[in-house]
């Protein structure tokens, strides 16, 4: 297939990836969707999940994202991720430790808002662990 689409992944602190790919599968809030060149323009929110980058009929890159936004148009896909890590780079022991630490904090937290934000972080970390 000749047509490639430009895939850009940006986190608030830096540009993580900018490459030409055959297809990207993005975890949208209302279901995963694949984007190839010539896709109809779409803006979608993302849930916690994994972005698959396809090249030549195989997955070449898998990236974990903790929610965000995606914008697809005929010539490019832009993903604004809240937090993004390559699956290959996830350090399982570190994430496990992080979850344990957060669980401890959750027990100690008294305020509702604080509990909610810690619970959300545990959810993200667990999903990260599951994806690795």
């Amino acid at each position: 297939m000749a047509d490639k689409t430009k895939f850009e992944l940006v986190a608030p602190e830096r540009l993580l990836a900018s490459l030409d790919v055959d297809m990207v599968v993005v975890p949208g809030t209302e279901g995963d969707f694949g984007v190839m060149a010539g896709h109809a323009p779409v803006i979608s929110t993302l849930r916690i999940g994994t972005i698959d980058v396809w090249n030549g009929g195989a997955i070449t890159d898998r990236i974990f994202v903790a929610g965000g936004f995606a914008e697809a148009s005929a010539e490019r896909v832009t993903v604004l991720a809240d937090e993004a890590t390559r699956i290959a780079d996830i350090d399982k022991t570190a994430v496990t430790k992080e979850i344990e630490g957060l669980r401890g904090k959750l027990g100690a937290a008294t305020e509702d808002g604080e509990r909610r934000s810690i619970a959300a972080r545990i959810e993200i970390a667990s999903a990260k662990l599951a994806a690795a």
């Binding site: 608030p12 540009l15 809030t29 109809a40 323009p41 803006i43 979608s44 929110t45 914008e71 832009t78």
Partner: protein, 291 residues
Amino acid sequence: MATLKALRMRIASVKSTQKITSAMKMVAAAKLRRAQEQAEAARPYALRMGRMLGSLAGSMTAGAGAPKLLAGTGADKVHLLVVATSDRGLCGGFNSTIVRLVRSDIRKLQAEGKTVKLLCVGRKGREQLRRDYANLIVGSIDELNRKRLSFADATRVSDKVLAMFDANEFDVCAFYYARFKSAISQIPTRLQLVPFVPSEAPANDTGASYEYEPEEGEILAALLPRNLAVQIYGGLLENGASEQGARMSAMDSATRNAGDMIKKLTLNYNRSRQASITKELIEIISGAEAV
């Protein structure tokens, strides 16, 4: 005329001050480079976020259904000014120029009969504003991560702003910071956060209408608070770079001043040393002649 010993001591003390200021200049230069890199790295996200919001806001007519963060509360009574300054001093007029802009805006707003609230980010600005406007300060945040400002630090600020907005505590919110132009020039800038002002950049080049998943309203509701955090983050990064730039040039001129002072003092010292030698010689010679 100061004694020789006193002069020697002054020279030594100015020299050690010069050493400190020149070291601080080096440190500021290194930090400036890092801050600039960071600001550079954060730009793509803000750019794309702006583009996405621009196309969304364009399609979403600012009608009744638009979220409040986009359309405003409809009133223009209470203004919240978020003032970003540094936590540390010794950076020339950096904090003062920001505070001056804020002061003049406060006066203008108050003259129009509006209520002003202040949220101070950074210790130095709070100290300066507390003198005249202590009763306007509704909150302050400092001790942001000094080494490396992270996005989480910016969300601390934006969460506070959003919580206040949800509690209907203000109608208009503006962010004050110093825009980094160059190491010797920083421009105090006002950036309106609420209601949202779309950037002048063309919304989308294709002119195609987007499909939204989920609905526009829901995406906007998620995107707008996020955008607020991104704008604050960008502003704080610029501010950080400006602070280092201001400190660098302030320390540079302090080092130069110290150099001038040392020159002057050394000249003085040598003159009085020579004078005393001459005096002693004359005494010896006239003593010898008298014999």
